[in-house]
Symmetry: C2
Subunit: 256 residues, 2 copies
């Protein structure tokens, strides 16, 4: 049965998509069967995994609005063991259509149920928001991984995110827990990164991965070639970091 | 009559809040009367202008839900000529409450109407989304300033943003236009910044400001002290850039 992992943080630009794409690829490279679900109308995870807009025929919008079976929306990426359910800008209208009533939060959970036996991991890339789509992701997930940029504004929003996760756990999905916090865009040259990192480790202890993702330009170049970092530049610091994160993630799995 | 300017881009982490805070401060330093409206539940603009959470008694949520007169929600910052209407995490619920029907998009426009004679500029910091709150900002605004991070993913979403602005202009606010595109977090050391910058200037021509905001760590340190860059470190490259942006913005004003 697949483990469903939401990559979430309503602070924008903290590395959610970069983590979803590259962790998923590293897990696939360790022979795990992985599905990435793009739940952001920007469609960055779809682009970064080499699925251009014209190829996004059936998308997560169609699945959520019951216009297609989820199997029909699965796109095979160029990475072995890695599939994708793409997103388009339609998702903005889909979220408005779903609304925010009590029965709008289980749609994704119900939709992915038939797929749970076919994968080892289902990874959901969330938009920078705590709206209906992200709540759907949290209800559908077993765990949440929180990418945290080593910046002050990113730290400020963390409490609100933790509270939202707790209330989803209390009211909608009692299985939900935090898988871990991964520090991203760490810059050795700048003091702020170290201050934020120490702060987070004090508050969250072991929940914070030992692996820290450094700021590495190759990570931001890779998406323009539609490739995850492991295919774009396996020798980069970014690739090393996501391979290490995947190894640490799997080690924790076996310990749990 | 105040000019109302939305700082918008649904891509996360591109420098919306940093631009709202520091452009507003630079305009206030040129003796313009300026109001910043924080329309993001993260409340980063409120924090960055020195309004801590306990001081956010009446907020933009109260204004939008008609729980208070807008005059009561105005907070005086430590910068002369600069006031703020703060935001809290309540805004997540406010957005859900407002919903997305035809009559939900004019609430902010109506609320700020009585203030337009008291300020030269009203600057709205938007959340990384194209949902109801950002649509309210676009309906209430005369112009939109688009901060654009010099990264591939940021470029990818630009079309969708432009389309949204055009449909708001067509259906809800015929005065709306793009004020300009400002390139942010430009890093001379990395090729990608220059590629993105050339791409954007080819597509948008004069709409792109000559002023480019460089990546500068002092800009990301300032908010942890609750100060705009002009108060935190007037001699930094970040302060220079926002002073230059303000000057270029005002020059364009007089030319229009
Ligand atoms: N470790 C890193 N080093 C350098 N650049 C990075 C790194 N991680 C991400 N980036 C770049 O920073 C930008 C933001 O990252 P990304 O888009 O993954 O964040 P996000 O949280 O998914 O953003 P959004 O909130 O818009 O969904 C992107 O342009 C990405 O390529
Ligand atoms: N020119 C710059 N140089 C260095 N850091 C910057 C610069 N501009 C912004 N930052 C930092 O980058 C992060 C993202 O910027 P900011 O929060 O202003 O973006 P945003 O678009 O408002 O994000 P969100 O989408 O979450 O609202 C912040 O931590 C900020 O301090
Ligand atoms: Mg993303
Ligand atoms: Mg912001």
């Amino acid at each position: 049965r697949a483990k469903v992992l939401a990559i979430a943080n309503h602070k924008g630009g903290v590395g959610k998509t970069t983590t979803a794409i590259n962790l998923a690829t590293a897990l696939a490279a360790s022979n795990k069967k992985v599905l990435v679900i793009d739940l952001d109308s920007q469609g960055n995870a779809s682009t970064g995994l080499g699925c251009p807009t014209p190829k996004r025929v059936e998308t997560i919008s169609d699945v959520l609005l019951n216009r297609t079976y989820i199997q029909n929306a699965i796109y095979s990426t160029e990475v072995d063991n890695l599939s994708l359910i793409p997103a388009t800008t339609d998702l903005v209208n889909t979220e408005a259509e779903i609304g925010s009533g009590a029965d709008s939060y289980h749609l994704l959970q119900e939709a992915i149920y038939p797929l749970r036996s076919r994968y080892d991991y289902i990874i959901i890339d969330c938009a920078p928001s705590l709206g209906t789509l992200t709540l759907n992701a949290l209800v559908a997930s077993d765990r949440v991984m929180i990418p945290l940029q080593c910046e002050f504004f990113a730290l400020e929003g963390l409490n609100h995110l933790i509270q939202t996760i707790s209330s989803v756990k209390r009211e909608l999905n009692s299985d939900l827990d935090i898988e871990g916090v991964v520090l991203t865009m760490y810059d050795r040259r700048n003091n702020l990164s170290e201050l934020v990192s120490q702060d987070v480790r004090t508050c969250f202890g072991d929940k914070v991965y030992q692996t820290v993702i450094p700021r590495n330009v190759r990570l931001s170049e890779a998406p323009s070639h539609g490739k995850p970092i492991l295919l774009y530049d396996i020798h980069s610091a970014g690739a090393d970091a996501y391979l290490a994160l995947s190894a640490e993630f799997l080690t924790r799995e076996t310990l749990q």
